[in-house]
């Protein structure tokens, strides 16, 4: 028997989840394609619905995260907003009082980066985008040191160069506002 050292290399999937599972499976019991049973429902409740992740509780913001072992990552996923929904991703999460998130808001037609620092929510950057309920939007986020860069469908870029909060924190995940029946799919985190 030999020991093999495995480390996260550039481009290597740290977490991949296509959310393929039986409808109604709680996300914290679901097994990701890469990462195993890795999700923690930090606030609210996510379930599998039609092989996608969907928020089901009536909390003001629902959050599920997983340990990804790297703070500096490239994260991609598909967001399928419902009417009045605001699906998105959570970055560098320590607890419900300290993290970052990006959301695509159908009601506001905006793509926004929000900082949550000691429980205070501050929008740091916003781009106007025509968000249509039921349409799939490809989100791509790169975290690198204190810079967070994100695009929606390859455009509508947001760049925030002062992301000092939690710059070394390695939990990332998904979020939605309320149980608006928005969906998230094809969640991939690479180093």
């Amino acid at each position: 028997m030999s020991l093999v050292s495995v480390s996260a290399q550039s481009g290597v999937p740290l977490l991949l989840d296509r959310f393929t599972d039986t409808d109604g499976t709680s996300l914290d019991l679901h097994r990701a394609d890469v990462g195993g049973v890795c999700w923690t429902e930090n606030q609210g409740d996510f379930e599998i619905a039609s092989n996608r992740a969907r928020a089901v509780a009536a909390a003001s913001q629902q959050i599920a995260t997983a340990e990804c072992r790297r703070a500096d990552v490239t994260l991609t996923c598909d967001l399928i907003p419902a009417a009045s929904g605001s699906p998105g991703v959570v970055l560098r999460y320590t607890n419900t009082l300290n993290f970052w998130y990006l959301r695509a808001s159908e009601a506001g037609n905006t793509f926004a980066l929000v900082e949550v620092n000691a429980g205070v929510f501050t929008t740091r950057a916003t781009t106007a985008v025509a968000i249509v309920a039921g349409v799939t939007y490809a989100l791509r986020v790169v975290t690198s040191g204190t810079t967070i860069t994100a695009t929606l469908d390859g455009g509508s870029q947001i760049t925030w160069p002062s992301a000092a909060l939690n710059s070394t924190v390695t939990r990332h995940g998904i979020t939605d506002a309320d149980a608006a029946a928005s969906s998230i799919d094809n969640f991939l985190v690479t180093a």
């Binding site: 000691a118 929510f121 501050t122 929008t123 950057a125 106007a128 509508s156 760049t159």
Partner: protein, 81 residues
């Protein structure tokens, strides 16, 4: 389309449903904005905005902001939404 830096106060309660955001973004339709200061709890700060020419003109004419609140005005290429 114009890009400029605008000095603005912030509104909101700092909650998930009512996050702090620049007051000027509540009043005017901005195509894009980004905080420049990065303060933990902003009260008054500078943001960089992209908006229609007429919107920037209106901000400069608004007594809440005025021409001195707008700096570094420049024409920008429009990115397809």
């Amino acid at each position: 389309m114009k890009r400029a830096k605008v000095k603005t106060s912030w509104v909101g309660a700092g909650t998930a449903r009512d996050a702090f955001r620049p007051a000027v973004a509540d009043t005017y339709t901005l195509r894009k904005w980004q905080d420049v200061t990065g303060d933990p709890r902003p009260t008054v700060s500078e943001i960089e905005v992209e908006c229609e020419d007429a919107v920037l003109t209106a901000i400069k004419l608004d007594p809440a902001y005025g021409a001195p609140a707008v700096k570094g005005e420049a024409v920008v290429q429009v990115e397809k939404l």
